[in-house]
């Protein structure tokens, strides 16, 4: 019995495996599993992969799921050129590292970007809130930055000087949002150059053949209601994740609690919602009175406001505008006089994918 690969070329990992097997001349039988017809949920396929996912492999009596497992199996069994999945410990560790990272980072944002921009509206007839899409695209952008800065750096390929399975997994993943019209490579010359190299290494014809189906996804006819019902539960998660901004506001002051206007936190919440144009129920406010604070060496009454907001916040110009409005609000509430002009500071704290910007406002002194 020949090797069978159960694939749907709509799926990025399936494309990676298809390209890999074809490029290396691995003989296999292509078993199409049409995700758009929910074939991955049918009993016949579940016998091959009870997890109900593609890609899947059957080699005689051996059944295997999960793209990374399949790529490793094919690499070793068919003894492909070493550079695809090197034997050298440190070289292969670089491949393993990328393959582990992409699971929880790039894969997620590419899939959601493509689905939210195209598949939900076109195929499932469901509108996606613009804030959700915007937040997903921002996240995709952050992943691309990490891809360039942490993995690619100045190398020709992700794991070293030669193409490996890491590059195949990455490129097929990135083509997903490209198929939905997202500009992934246009403003990233380094990534675009890498793409050219990968395509050249794989062969333009094979690359295009593998992507023919997904590049036509925008022309898909809408799914009928039976299919929609079947697919909805598993694709709902592609809508849910990562809601829009959760602005987080902290007001620290050395004024004792009794001197802080009652209900300030509620009003600050409402003001934040207005100033940042965010839903009030997503704003978090903490007011800390009675702190021991010294500003510029003085312990006179003062207050400090810090606003953290992940995701899309705005330009420096917009932040300065926000700062001014917060300052105005606090001046009225707390009877404060301004000691120095408020300044905005942009800061990109760490944590993978987090792009928080702190609008740090300077401390005030009250006018009394």
């Amino acid at each position: 019995m020949p090797l069978e690969l159960f694939l749907d070329l709509y799926s990025p990992p399936c494309r990676a495996i298809y390209i890999f097997a074809r490029k290396n001349g691995i003989p296999f039988e292509f078993r199409p599993v049409e995700l758009g017809r929910a074939e991955h949920l049918k009993p016949e396929f579940l016998k091959v992969n009870p997890l109900g996912k593609v890609p899947a492999l059957r080699d005689g009596d051996f059944l295997l799921a999960e793209s990374v497992a399949i790529l490793l199996y094919l690499s070793r069994k068919y003894e492909v050129p070493d550079h695809w999945y090197p034997q050298d410990l440190q070289a292969r560790a670089r491949v393993d590292e990328y393959l582990a990272w992409q699971h929880t980072a790039l894969r997620s944002s590419c899939t959601r970007a493509m689905w939210q921009k195209m598949m939900f509206p076109v195929f499932l007839g469901e509108q996606v809130p613009p804030e959700t899409l915007a937040s997903t695209l921002t996240e995709l952008d952050r992943c691309l930055e990490l891809l360039e800065d942490k993995f690619l750096k100045d190398k020709d390929f992700l794991a070293g000087p030669h193409i490996s399975v890491a590059d195949l997994m990455a490129i097929t993943e990135l083509m997903h949002p490209v198929s939905a019209g997202c500009q992934v490579f246009n403003s990233r010359p380094k990534l675009a150059a890498w793409r050219q190299r990968v395509e050249a290494a794989v062969g333009k014809e094979l690359f295009q053949e593998a992507h023919a189906v997904v590049m036509k996804a925008k022309d898909l006819p809408p799914a009928d209601s039976a299919i929609k019902e079947k697919l909805k539960p598993s694709v709902q998660v592609l809508l849910h994740s990562f809601p829009p901004d959760m602005p987080f506001v902290e007001l620290d002051t050395n004024l004792p609690a009794g001197r802080v206007p009652a209900g300030l936190e509620k009003r600050l919440c409402a003001a934040t919602a207005t100033i940042l144009s965010k839903p009030e129920d997503r704003v978090n406010v903490t007011v800390r009175p009675g702190l021991a604070m010294a500003v510029n060496g003085s312990t006179d009454p003062c207050a400090q406001l810090i606003i953290s907001s992940i995701g899309v916040v705005g330009t420096a110009e917009e932040n300065r505008g926000h700062s001014a409005r917060f300052f105005e609000f606090l001046t009225k509430e707390m009877g404060l006089g301004q000691d120095r002009p408020p300044r905005s500071q942009g800061r990109l704290p760490g944590g993978s994918g987090s792009g928080g910007k702190n609008i740090g406002l300077d401390a005030w002194r009250p006018g009394f």
């Binding site: 009870p50 799921a65 490793l72 393993d96 990272w101 929880t104 992940i310 704290p349 944590g351 994918g353």
Partner: protein, 244 residues
């Protein structure tokens, strides 16, 4: 130059790496980095790992992130007993098959209770009941698949002997257990698997590794959990917003 492992033992993948290194007597220097104290954001650590995440391995000039990659590297570099990451191809790819599914269905899911019950409240955030319920359902589904597809009739995951898969899985499951969720209740098969893994690793090693997470609720009640430094708030917010 000695091997360095940068770990925060509150983190599940860090514990898996720690347990593996200790069980196999791999000589290393433990570099404890605590997320809540902002250590991951320090310039010093950022130079080691630009992603500012743990676990991170440093072997001379060679720096490696991602727990799966680290475990594989350690097993090959230190030539640990074959069962951990079998040399036989089919057995080996079964470990990868588990790790692939683990990345999708376990990672990110079982860590949620620590965030909702301890970490989010530390910065004044309340995660909605709806999300807690959704996470509970996701954990239940994952546990069912773990039992049916990966444990099946084996003693361990996809195998008759302990592999890297088992320690990755178990440390994830211990996270909600430490938060008071009895995941093994009503799941005798999984409970038996857990016992076998822990018997193999040794109770002392398990206790030592899980010291910080096992009494986290007590720490939270006594207010002895480190108050997060402001620099980590954005990361914490981001992580909390990722809870579906």
């Amino acid at each position: 130059m000695v091997l360095e492992l940068y770990l925060d033992l509150l983190s599940q993948p860090c514990r898996a790496v720690y347990i593996f290194a200790m069980k196999n007597r791999i000589p290393f220097e433990l570099r404890t980095v605590e997320l809540l104290k902002g250590h991951l954001l320090s310039r010093e650590f950022s130079q080691i790992n630009i992603l500012q995440k743990v676990p991170t391995l440093k072997d001379g000039d060679f720096i490696l992130t991602e727990s799966a990659a680290i475990l594989i590297y350690l097993s090959l570099q230190y030539q640990t007993a074959d069962h951990w990451y079998p040399s036989e191809l089919r057995a080996r790819v079964r470990v990868h098959e588990y790790l692939g599914w683990h990345a999708d269905c376990i990672r990110g899911t079982f860590g949620v209770p620590l965030w909702t019950q301890v970490l989010a409240p530390l910065i004044g955030i309340h995660v909605t009941e709806e999300k807690v319920e959704r996470n509970k359902a996701a954990m239940a589904r994952a546990l069912q698949q773990l039992e049916d597809k990966f444990l099946g009739y084996w003693d361990f995951l996809n195998s008759q002997q302990v592999t890297l898969a088992d320690i990755m899985a178990l440390e994830e499951l211990m996270q909600p257990v430490a938060l008071g969720w009895d995941l093994f209740e009503g799941r005798p098969k999984l409970a038996a698997w857990r016992e076998r893994v822990e018997a193999f690793l040794g109770t002392d090693l398990c206790q030592e590794t899980r010291g910080r997470i096992l009494n986290i609720l007590e720490q939270a009640a006594n207010k002895t959990v480190p108050q997060p430094v402001p620099e980590v708030y954005p990361y914490m917010l981001f992580r909390i917003s990722r809870i579906p």
